[in-house]
Symmetry: D3
């Protein structure tokens, strides 16, 4: 069994990150992972939600699919008057992942909202949102320092995300939609630059999986995350 | 008084239309008018809403701004649980304009929905949605013919839209946001390839305007629409 | 071709405006244009929305149809949990039209909301809402002056609205529903007492129309608006 | 203690019922009880909700206040995205009351919806909705017979409603708002033409009340209902 | 005719009240009336809604059915995006009933919310909510006194609720679902410890009823309420 | 460092499962894990959602907290008109976990909905919902077999869930709220009776964690899940 697009089992799809894709947001990028395209925009506001302790900041995320991001058109959330439960689940994951990247005390009383809007979805949109969302977040933080709003950069560490899964009985990195839709097991892993785990979500959709299989999937993800980290570093060096 | 970006008073902003910006929609393009960027996607479905006479088709549009399309982030519709009234107004205009372009009998029992999502808004998003939306619509219709779903192309005529306004006491074509926000009068005009009017909306935000001024604004729009039509023809020739 | 109700092509339906139809609102009237009946109520509040500059006031409108205003019963907005997009479009038009009638600086930090509730709809409800809404607004402003809340009347000019259209190939003033529903072209025009345009909306529902046709429709509307203005003056003289 | 408007304690406010106030509904009237004004419209549809047994019909009601029906403007339900709980309570009462008036088997598979829209509210709007709603319902049923849709009139008996209360320590019939707002006890009573009770709702807002007081309030209501019944008969005789 | 469960016509179902069923609420109980089970929780907050006069408190109630409380599963309110109109009606009744039990001036600027969640519904849930809700309310008030938040207990009198009805032509106390669903007449009666009425709601679902029948139903309810009062006293003595 | 309630680090809280806590649902139980109490009800319907392949069944879950389940009262979802995003996330997890327990082909065209309503929340409500939800599901499946609706039991394997975390620097099983709220790392693990993983969610709220730590947390969960499995077997043996 080989992969449809000829990739090795531990190979990422071609990744492209275009920083500053839009210009009004404090930070933005368009991230493309194969056919998956997510526009990530970081917006800074000078106030924090009520539950945040005085003097500290907040980082949150919103995630949405454009109606024709997928093979079939889906209705907008507003037409159904409810946030898609899948989007709710994903934006909580993205928010926790990116919040972990920031020293909220250093951020001071600012909220940074990362909007992740999927222009095209071909698998892996939630982890692309984490990886691209981090770039938008880092660009916004840099701007806050350059403009003298913050004394020092509140980024604590880089954050990347990638998925792995078991298709047939083969373990594979970075599932595209045609693989994801028939995967037995699907696991998303968000890591920092030390290879430590920030978020881990594994689902036995087709069958249960052993702790050993789970470890191997994490190891595959670690490889992918190292490559994504390298790309983020290049983009942000400029 | 000269324009901020050095344009002549009857000059359009630089326009760029990228067809097939996303690949799952039956037709799509990214239209850029200066800093304004709208992603237009046409989706075809094999059924029509109940109010449509048997045997004929339907064309409709949806319009939305991404939360950080503008200088300040705005909440998503779903967070407020209501479609922005401005979006409601605009998508009705876009829908009527594009519906007028199609012979609904020839379209047969299909619905084409044009999603216009503003990635960046710098004035003129509703008319850019009409102009770009027509390209997406035409690409989708061509595909329906190529795939043998339709016997002949149901497009009756091209459709373009542009705005003009009175800023200070000067009449100008294609207002960008910095002009639009202080315009006395604002007029949007959608036309077909014969220079006939399909939709006309004029508002005296700062002062009332005379029928003579109104005619001159329509004449300015006619000039802009001719140039947009030329660009559409080039794009669709390929 | 003659009109169903025997009117001349440039003749308004019989108009009746009953001021103070209800007594709690600061200003109110029932406007009847043929079978169309709209209850217009002006309510004054001592605060303004956040976007309004300090020291100035605001005028806004809401528009709604009672469920059995039409030939068929329609569900209430609340049953569908969404403001009818048509109502959203119309109340923005009515709000802009009536706001243009008022010197917002003279109004001071007050909001006047004009509620236009259609008791019976037989075509022309949006322009009847403008014409009747102006009467309610003017009565409310007069009351604010009489009660010493305002030093001088903030009304800048009268505002009236009427529609014209092309039915068959005939241009007609003030379309009733049976005409409107088969009109090729429909144009609404809101004017001040000088015959200047405040709002203009033209739609080629059945076919596109030339700029010349558009001018003639505006001229028809100007005639109708002059007659509506005369009636407003009589009502408000009392 | 005398009543503000000089009425006797067992005296109704002046009542006026204008049948056919609007013309598209199958039945309609405007009912005025003092300053309270409710527009009641009956709409007939050729289908019934799923819970209704085959071959039988349904009668239901909707109740709403226009935003400026009262001394202060209130937001529309749709602006708050929820049906006012008070309206929900009232329309269930009106629906049960009017349903009881109809032989649902004779009505056949039709639904009659009675829309009660309060144009002005000065106390007693729910019972005015019952009394006026019955007139609209009876007019619609008559029309169904006249048009041959129904073989015989499905009205089983007349239905009227009125309130009584204890203000200070005085029992009074038909409270207007100024009385209602300071009543100790408030009781609404819907009766048929035999003086039998269809709906009864009593509330000790200011203090609890004895069963003896409750009986006297019902007796007061019975007097008022007899007078309302007489007026309904006159209106419907025409 | 005898009752399905062998009860006498004026006999309550077995009642059990478990105080402090949950431990975080300031007061709580589980009330069981036959198969009907309602969890009642009283929550105290240090602020009052805007409409409450300065220095006084507020008591309110919310009522809801769990989706599988009944013989058939029903959708959650949030899935339909609307509060069930029946719940709206009931929670207004429960709120008025319990508010009447409290001296709001003595309560000071606190709001007590009584949540009544029906775990199982077999008839009489609204009156069980009143009876159980009072126990939760009284426990919360006692706690406020014990903790020194209030100087004296604001409870003015006990409150209980029970239903009676006419099934066939027999008057019965405390209808269970199998009786309620075929009752001709249904009456709910909330009383204080003196046997005075606080809330009364009677509905002639199957037929109208005479004032004499109504009195007898109130007398039946008075008997039931006396027994419920006795149980409340025992529970609260501890 | 010892645990507040004196438990060993790898020790579960006292667990109690009361089957058939309510009687109308096809299967139900009340599960108590320390102070956490969740009512789980399984409802069977004879139809499946549109996305389910013909001839197969569906299992889904809903999760909600009663307003006073926690130390502070929270508003109901319906008052905010949105499903809590946390509930959305959790019910998707519970649904996937329980769906994995069932052979959907054997279930045939039935939907089983597991409602998990938290009566009291003291940490671990999502995993208690899985463990208790499985009992409700298994009871419902048994009933379907006993009643002859299904030929054989569609349960494929048992499912249990438990959490573990790192508090301070100590790994602990089954966090209660006081531990959970200050945990550095939190991991939920759903397993089958073979100790294979069905769902895994780990979050580094306070700090990132190594793959080694992650493995140890899974091992702790495996121990807890074995004990929960034993309890489920006893309950279901009866």
């Amino acid at each position: 069994m080989t992969r449809q697009d000829g990739r090795a089992f531990d190979e990422l799809r071609p990744i492209k990150i275009t920083p500053d894709f839009v210009k009004f947001a404090e930070g933005s990028c368009l991230i493309q992972c194969g056919n998956t395209m997510v526009l990530c925009c970081a917006s800074v506001e000078d106030r924090v939600p009520p539950h945040v302790p005085e003097g500290t900041g907040w980082v949150t995320a919103e995630y949405s699919m454009l109606p024709r991001a997928n093979r079939e058109r889906s209705k907008r959330d507003i037409a159904k008057l409810k946030l898609s439960p899948r989007s709710a689940e994903i934006q909580r994951l993205v928010g926790r992942s990116l919040r972990a990247a920031v020293d909220l005390a250093k951020l001071g009383e600012h909220t940074i909202t990362i909007d992740c809007d999927v222009l095209q979805g071909d698998g892996g949109t939630r982890t692309a949102s984490v990886t691209g969302g981090f770039v938008a977040l880092a660009l916004a933080c840099r701007k806050l320092v350059e403009e003298g709003v913050l004394a020092s950069n509140p980024i604590r560490h880089f954050v990347t995300g990638v998925s792995a899964g078991i298709v047939g009985e083969t373990l594979m990195l970075d599932l595209q939609y045609s693989e994801d839709s028939r995967a037995q097991v699907d696991l998303n892993c968000v890591m920092n630059e030390l290879g430590e785990i920030i978020e881990l979500q594994g689902t036995g959709e087709g069958r249960a999986f052993t702790p050993q299989e789970q470890q191997e999937l994490v190891r595959l993800c670690a490889k992918g995350n190292r490559e994504l980290l390298k790309l983020q570093r290049e983009i942000l060096k400029r």
